[in-house]
């Protein structure tokens, strides 16, 4: 009788421990964040500051997914896409040139993509992580490996505050980096005093992981 009770207790403890460890694994598991923003706030800002002319604009056609593990941010992977046709400048003639075949050739290259492959210099303080993310940036069909300093902010259970009737977590990613126009065949013949070869990019995006 005593032995039978001991066995039952033993089974219960093992089951409890198994469930607890499974729950722990589920909580620590990497989450996939969807960056298609229903509020349309996600954006990428670009600036080309040449001595004779400055070109400033933004893009909001952002999508893609990122797998982020709050317990192991170094393992972050994912792909962010920017719809090339969503790049906007306030001057209509400039906008036409920007989308044209000399510049981004939007008709043939619909997306600008960045695919994250590895992270280094990862530092986490509370819910914020900074890391140098290395990945492949593809613009106008030309791919180049670059390293981008990214700040991740993990906002647990904050999705409901942003999108009513939904629960889940948010991941905010901010990055500011520089690329060269000539590396991606963007209007390569343009003189640098009129169109800067340096493009300053600022990415501010938030992704949602629904439950």
């Amino acid at each position: 009788m005593q032995t039978e009770q001991n066995e039952t207790m033993k089974t219960k403890i093992i089951t409890l421990l198994t469930l607890t460890s499974l729950a722990g694994m589920a909580l620590a598991a990497p989450q996939t964040f969807d960056f298609k923003d229903p509020k349309g706030v996600n954006n990428a800002v670009f600036k080309l500051d040449a001595p004779l002319e400055a070109i400033n604009g933004s893009a909001n056609g952002i999508s893609g997914t990122v797998t982020f593990d709050p317990a192991n941010p170094a393992a972050t992977k994912g792909k962010i896409l920017v719809a090339a046709s969503s790049l906007h400048v306030p001057n209509p003639m400039m906008q036409g040139h920007l989308h044209g075949d000399q510049w981004l050739d939007v008709a043939n290259h619909q997306d600008i993509t960045f695919e994250a492959k590895s992270s280094s210099n990862v530092n986490t303080t509370g819910d914020n992580t900074t890391a140098d993310v290395t990945g492949t940036l593809t613009i106008k069909g030309l791919a180049k490996e670059i390293t981008v300093p990214v700040k991740f902010s993990y906002l647990k259970d904050k999705l409901g505050l942003r999108v009513p009737n939904q629960s889940g977590d948010l991941l905010v990613m901010r990055a500011n980096f520089v690329i060269k126009r000539s590396d991606f065949g963007i209007n390569p013949k343009a003189p640098e005093d009129k169109v800067s070869d340096t493009i300053d990019l600022t990415l501010s995006i938030a992704g949602a992981s629904r439950r």
Partner: protein
């Protein structure tokens, strides 16, 4: 006719200057949309929405003034009525 062209040229110059001043005296390129910044309170991200609005730039001033100069130039092709009467 001569005076008509000249009055038209002056009207163009004045209208362009007034439009440029009234839309904010923008010293850059002409804009047909203006960005409005909105901050998402949860994420802190500054988002941009564009509203359609005409903001005249220096290119607008230059183009209208060039047009006005052409009109003023054309006015010199027409002879003065008074001089014609003398010639006859």
């Amino acid at each position: 006719m001569k005076n008509t062209f000249r009055i038209l040229a002056i009207t163009m110059v004045v209208t362009a200057a007034v439009t440029w001043l009234a839309t904010g005296a923008n010293r850059g390129w002409t804009k047909t949309s203006v960005a409005t910044k909105t901050t998402d309170v949860v994420t802190g991200i500054d988002g941009f929405t564009y509203e359609k609005r005409f903001v005249a730039g220096l290119d607008f001033l230059g183009a209208t003034w060039l047009g006005a100069s052409l009109l003023a130039g054309v006015s010199f092709l027409f002879q003065n009525k008074h001089i014609n009467n003398h010639a006859n």
